[in-house]
Point group: C2
Chain length 404, copies 2
């Protein structure tokens, strides 16, 4: 008899956002007349930028003619896109990353889940707490996390690094040695950032103990403060210890269009084996490239026009973030994030649990948010609101909260 | 120090098609004036169908307006696409597969590689020999194949089922018990099919010993013979033992557009655990859907217009197959496949090895094909040509072979 991967059976409940979707769906079915405002899942609402639309149309036309038709894409992604990425996202920020260290993919979720494939099962992972669920869940699927304790909501073999208001949501280097460290800045879910000197400490630590950092920079476009780094490769030595994951979802609204990339520097090695060669092998064997028309459209955001148009989208969302942030502060809430990230992280009032506050918002104010505890035990007592709604809905939601 | 997945280091050489690409590139660099005809990789050359292009443009326009913009896709894929698949690919062939048993993905390569995630490491896999390299390579990455022997070109823990002219390229049920069986019909690389009663024997065997069949039907659109099954679910009981993988790459020319799907029936269980729930969990955690515009375009091939236009594309390629097949037979070659599949599988002449014949074709006739031994030890002495070139190039290539 064939055997299943038993690790899957250890996973608690369902994926966070599926649970929320089910709860909301049950509520709206029972209350079809209610006007629900969704500030829960981090999904964008603005249409694609005009220059991206234009390029998509042009690329579609290329697929209509034998002379310009594109079949299988190159393994790492089209050179025109990787060149634009290397130049704009790295070289222009002083990071020495070359086009052949960039692997184009269908998004940061796939990459942050799949990257585990190239590591041994017995590595010890360390994650921020709270954290984007995909890091832990995919490691659990790979058998890297031990057993799950329903009471503590923790896995036995995972190092949790609490990020709470007590430490300014900045993880402290753990006393236990870790092998694979997941960091995400600007942070999902807390919306906070890490000072450059603190990130440098992480890089130094990783180099010292021989750890690898998986750096998720999906929200870098939302950074407005001058002193916040956009890439981990702005830190000295990071090419020897860090993989960086980027997304087109939030800066260019590609959540339903799907494009991302991962940087694996040639310098990153384990006893002489380059991680670049391993990821290249995985990429070439288990993936067949992002669609040509999407890669062509992605390159467009690096043109002058594309930069201007995507910046306007980011500004639109960050204006929403400001409205939420300031409204909640006025209403007496304790609020974090929302300055360099599209997420607002608030402390739940009156000692409510995260899910109690979720139910309260849904049932009393008809607003959907995300309970902090869904991101890990240290998220308990917090709640996430996103700035990705429309301006009108965001304003109405904040009014409901303020007027309550 | 972090540790890598050592299984990657056991993999021999590079992925077959990367090796070929490098050889061809070295030859063309040294001989820039030569007119190379590529009948190697199974990549299509015809542009997308007019109705697909039209739908792509319309979908792009939907992404340009706030009212019709699409963010994250539903976990399993859009219902409009899954409904069309369930109806046209299954119900209309008498297979009782429902839309919620269908998982839309970015292609059959990803799915056939990733499906291993939901199975335990200590399953015994059985593959046809020769075989599409992705099945074995991804199982090797997962640590399921033992050690590789350079001499025999076999992995110690893999059951190889020879498919040669001696058994009409139809695998025989192995004496050793297997847990996960990969079958692909119409077959890549041999271009041959399996009679329905033979496939039924495989289903019966799998049900009896508790094995699961991964059935790759990426080439089903090329079936012209009436008595060949298009889906394994045409066999009795297959829903209890088989996962089927499909692709839009070859029937609709989506190699560079990326769309596929996998069927995991609810009936398929291992000691009470449904594989559907495991794959749903993987899909929801490590993947974020195929782009909306691509899914919309994919649904178009199930319209009357789409069926007509894609059928014309298939006919075009199958005419090429006929030209190759008949030309080679006239030239005295021993030829298989090419009737219900876009691949022609020929026995190399004069006891040449597959790679010797590759070099001969490349250097003497400037034709690129694929050496049979690249697909497994029993592929030695065979060679694959594909019908995916243009009519003109196919004709010229066959003339070169015939006139030699």
């Amino acid at each position: 008899m064939f055997k299943i991967n038993e690790n899957y059976l250890k996973l608690p409940g369902s994926y966070l956002f599926s649970t929320i979707a089910k709860k909301v769906s049950a509520y709206t079915e029972a209350n079809p007349d209610k006007d629900i405002i969704r500030l829960g899942i981090g999904d964008v609402t603005l249409p694609l930028a005009p220059c991206v639309i234009e390029r998509l149309h042009k690329a579609v036309d290329e697929m209509a003619s034998k002379e310009t038709f594109k079949g299988y894409a190159p393994d790492l992604g089209y050179e025109f896109l990787r060149d634009a990425i290397a130049l704009n996202d790295f070289k222009m920020r002083g990071c020495d990353i070359s086009a052949d260290e960039i692997f184009v993919s269908d998004g940061a979720k796939s990459d942050s889940g799949n990257i585990g494939d190239i590591f041994a099962t017995d590595n010890k992972i360390a994650v921020c707490d709270p954290v984007y669920p995909v890091y832990v869940d995919t490691n659990a699927m790979a058998g890297r996390t031990g057993v799950y304790d329903q009471d503590t909501q923790k896995w036995s073999d995972v190092i949790y690094m609490p990020c709470t208001k007590e430490n300014n949501f900045c993880p402290e280097i753990p006393s236990q040695t870790s092998d694979i460290i997941y960091l995400c800045f600007p942070n999902n879910p807390t919306g906070t950032t890490i000072p450059k000197d603190k990130l440098q400490e992480w890089v130094d630590y990783a180099l010292k103990v021989g750890a690898v950092i998986i750096y998720d920079a999906a929200y870098e476009a939302y950074i407005s403060s001058d002193d916040v780094v956009h890439s981990i490769y702005e830190c000295n030595g990071a090419k020897g210890c860090a993989i960086e994951i980027r997304s087109f979802s939030k800066n260019a609204g590609f959540t339903g269009t799907r494009l991302g990339y991962t940087v694996v520097p040639h310098d990153l090695k384990c006893n002489g084996t380059s991680l670049h060669s391993l990821w290249a092998r995985r990429h070439g064997t288990k993936f067949n490239g992002a669609p040509y028309i999407i890669q062509a459209a992605g390159a467009q955001i690096y043109t002058e026009e594309g930069k201007k148009q995507t910046k306007e989208m980011v500004s639109y969302y960050m204006n929403n973030a400001k409205i939420i942030r300031e409204g909640l502060i006025d209403a007496g809430y304790e609020v974090y994030g929302g300055v360099d990230a599209p997420y607002i992280w608030l402390a739940t009032p009156d000692k409510m649990t995260s899910w109690e506050f979720f139910d309260y918002l849904l049932e009393e104010l008809n607003i959907v948010g995300t309970p902090g505890s869904g991101f890990g035990p240290s998220g308990e007592g917090y709640f996430r609101l996103t700035a990705f709604g429309s301006y009108e809905n965001t304003k109405r939601a904040v009014e409901r909260i303020v007027n309550k």
